[in-house]
């Protein structure tokens, strides 16, 4: 019997008196409590960074979507499958935004089999088109964890050592139909260094707990649609790299744009287009980047793609929160010129300039650099 996790289940704890969170003030209004709750939810969005940890920037991720009968359940509107596919489209967009040189593949499992919806590719358009078409598929039978994992393993096994190999399973059924012992497969996955994470839509399943614990992934079960989206977006950020992953120099081509009209068709709708890029080694032409040249095998990227990942490598420090009453001088946010009305303000530890809550959120989520630090130091 292997070790059970120490974490106690929710029904084993005492009663939670959730009504005690709401407190009335002297006049009996709940306004202060409501504002506090809204404020806390805003702050929760700024997640903590990992610190100085090496991140796996080039990722190969397979997403396995459950297509079994339980996906027709209507607890997520309009049904679980449609809702999942819609959220997947957002996920694919965000994923390529944060990890431009990574690749994603989609597998769908139903009727005790698994099949690839899309192969591992670096272009978001193909995946989104396939996801849109998949809305019409029928949900039959039972999923097969073993088959989908071995299908993903077939491709991930041959990926170079410096990339991170990941599988994300979205499982709604409580059963799985496997042709062989899945615990053997878990051992194989562990040896090939594949990290498997699961998002459950129904309830916690022991096989998934063991699977994720052995391979080093995360297992969550959703509460509602908003929670589902949050859990999916957790997987967009690059995970910390394993200590055993190799670091190597990858040969890449930084391709130049061309305006000649003939192109290799790489997108889903065939056609000729004027704008494109050509491979510096073999001069084959492509419509979009990043892509792997089919003629000579060189990975083609453009400099902004690499620049997009820089903010992961040089993350912005968290700002220090302090109450607004302690602030001397003018009560204005230094970037957006707004009056500071919230109860606390944020200051950057290096340049000591003061920001309001909205600017703090925006800076940490989208901008990734402090506007005032840019002024005080000249080097990046």
């Amino acid at each position: 019997m292997d070790e059970e996790s120490e974490r106690a289940k929710r029904w084993e704890g005492g009663y939670e008196r959730t009504w005690e969170v709401l407190k009335e003030d002297e006049s009996g209004s709940l306004k202060a409590t409501v504002e506090e709750i809204l404020y806390q939810s805003k702050r929760k969005r700024v997640t903590e960074s990992h610190g100085q940890v090496r991140l796996g920037m080039m990722r190969h991720l397979y997403v396995v979507i459950d297509g079994s009968r339980s996906m027709e359940d209507q607890d997520l509107k309009p049904n679980r499958l449609t809702s999942t596919l819609k959220l997947m489209e957002t996920f694919v967009d965000e994923y390529f935004d944060q990890n431009p040189i990574s690749q994603v593949g989609i597998i769908i499992t139903k009727n005790k089999r698994a099949e690839k919806l899309t192969d591992l590719a670096g272009n978001p358009k193909k995946h989104i088109a396939a996801l849109k078409k998949a809305v019409d598929t029928s949900c039959v039978g039972e999923p097969s964890l073993y088959n989908s994992l071995s299908l993903a393993l077939q491709t991930l096994r041959h990926m170079p050592g410096h990339t991170s190999r990941e599988v994300l399973i979205i499982l709604s059924s409580l059963t799985t139909c496997d042709p062989a012992n899945i615990y053997e497969l878990v051992k194989t996955l562990k040896s090939v260094k594949v990290r498997v994470s699961v998002i459950g839509l129904s309830a916690e399943v022991r096989v998934c707990t063991v699977l994720t614990r052995e391979t080093g992934g995360s297992y969550h079960v959703i509460l509602d649609e908003i929670h589902f989206k949050e859990l999916l977006m957790l997987h967009v950020k690059p995970p910390p790299a394993r200590s055993s992953s190799e670091c190597s120099l990858i040969r890449m081509g930084l391709s130049l744009p061309s305006v000649s009209p003939s192109h290799l068709d790489s997108s889903s709708d065939p056609g000729l287009s004027l704008r494109g890029y050509f491979c510096p080694q073999c001069h084959a032409k492509y419509t979009e980047l990043p892509v792997e040249c089919r003629v000579c095998g060189l990975t083609l990227v453009s400099a902004p793609h690499l620049a997009r990942s820089f903010h992961h490598l040089f993350p912005l420090q968290d700002f220090i929160e302090s109450p607004v009453e302690e602030l001397q001088g003018s009560r204005f946010c230094q970037t957006c010129q707004a009056e500071l009305k919230e109860k606390s303000v944020f200051s950057c530890p290096s340049c000591l300039s003061v920001f309001c809550v909205e600017c703090d959120l925006f800076i940490h989520e989208s901008l990734h650099c402090c506007p005032c630090c840019i002024h005080s130091r000249t080097a990046t």
Binding site: T335, H375, T380
Partner: protein, 299 residues
């Protein structure tokens, strides 16, 4: 046609690098900073006059600070200045207030700010970051049901500062995510960073052949907003050079080696990455053992 509830916000970022403008005043006395600010005010007035719901903001980008010329903090305090509100020539009040404020603020910035140290380059990335934060704040403060479309117009005078590359790229990606266009009007020399910004966000890039006609170019090319631009014949997009410079020699390269940990680019293979100091595994060619053939000895 824009719907009734849609507001258009234009943020103009003006490069007021005193060193460049000082040299410019000696090169070409017909086009000085005051003429440039006049053109900017004309553009701002035209934009505000196009639609009742249009909004404007102007930021001056100096060597070490960026300052909001309009709207200023004192406006928020409620008192717009009783004396500036009454315009003498019957102009729409909002426009005359804006012009006066811009004129006052630019005078105070140019006289009060000192250039210290050896930083003589304009910190454009900082001003763009402030503009993005301002746009973010304005979008959050809108009422339910109102749409906002924002764009940033950069009027650039001095040369690029290569040290700002990473901050600039962060700003560009943030703008692209929020669907904010960045247009660039370049007075002197071509700027690679702004060309990339305009290409990635979908804005317009134009290098003006005659600086004296700045107001004309601003009104012809940059006044229409993104919906109307599809109907017009505008200057073609510039050929953007996306080649990266290698970290060791700063040469522009086409094929390079990228470190998988820190994504720095090198032109030659080296066993250690200079940025993150990781040692790389070198793939040794596999030694194929020759098969021993049994020689048949002749009988």
């Amino acid at each position: 046609m824009a719907s009734e509830e849609e507001t258009n916000l234009l943020v103009i970022v003006v490069d007021v690098n005193p060193i460049w403008w000082g040299q410019q005043a000696q090169r070409e006395p017909e086009f000085t900073l005051s003429k440039c600010m006049d053109a900017v005010m004309v553009m701002g007035n035209a934009h505000t006059a196009m639609n009742r719901t249009n909004k404007l903001a102007v930021i001056a980008s100096h060597c070490q600070v960026s300052h909001f010329l309009y709207p200023t903090k004192s406006l928020k305090a409620g008192d717009g200045g009783g004396d500036v509100a009454s315009s003498k020539d019957g102009k729409y009040e909002l426009l005359s207030v804006a012009n006066n404020i811009i004129a006052e603020e630019i005078k105070s910035i140019m006289s009060k700010t000192e250039v210290t140290g050896n930083s003589t380059d304009t910190l454009l990335a900082g001003s763009l970051a402030k503009a993005l934060c301002y746009i973010n704040r304005v979008s959050k403060e809108l009422e339910v049901g109102q749409d906002i479309k924002s764009r940033i117009l950069v009027i650039k005078a001095a040369d690029d500062c290569a040290l700002q590359y990473m901050n600039f790229m962060n700003v560009i990606f943030a703008a692209q995510k929020q669907n904010i266009l960045i247009d660039a009007c370049v007075l002197d020399s071509d700027s690679g960073l702004l060309q990339q910004a305009c290409d990635i966000t979908g804005g317009l890039y134009l290098k003006i052949p005659q600086k004296v006609a700045l107001a004309q170019y601003l009104l012809w090319v940059f006044l229409p907003d993104s919906d109307q631009r599809s109907q017009l014949v505008l200057p073609p997009p510039a050929h953007v050079d996306y080649r990266a410079a290698c970290f060791c020699h700063r040469n522009l390269i086409e094929i390079g080696y990228v470190c998988s940990v820190c994504l720095s680019i090198f032109c030659n293979f080296s066993p250690i990455c200079t940025t993150c100091e990781t040692a790389f595994k070198i793939q040794l060619p596999q030694i194929v053992k020759p098969k021993k053939k049994k020689l048949k000895l002749p009988a």
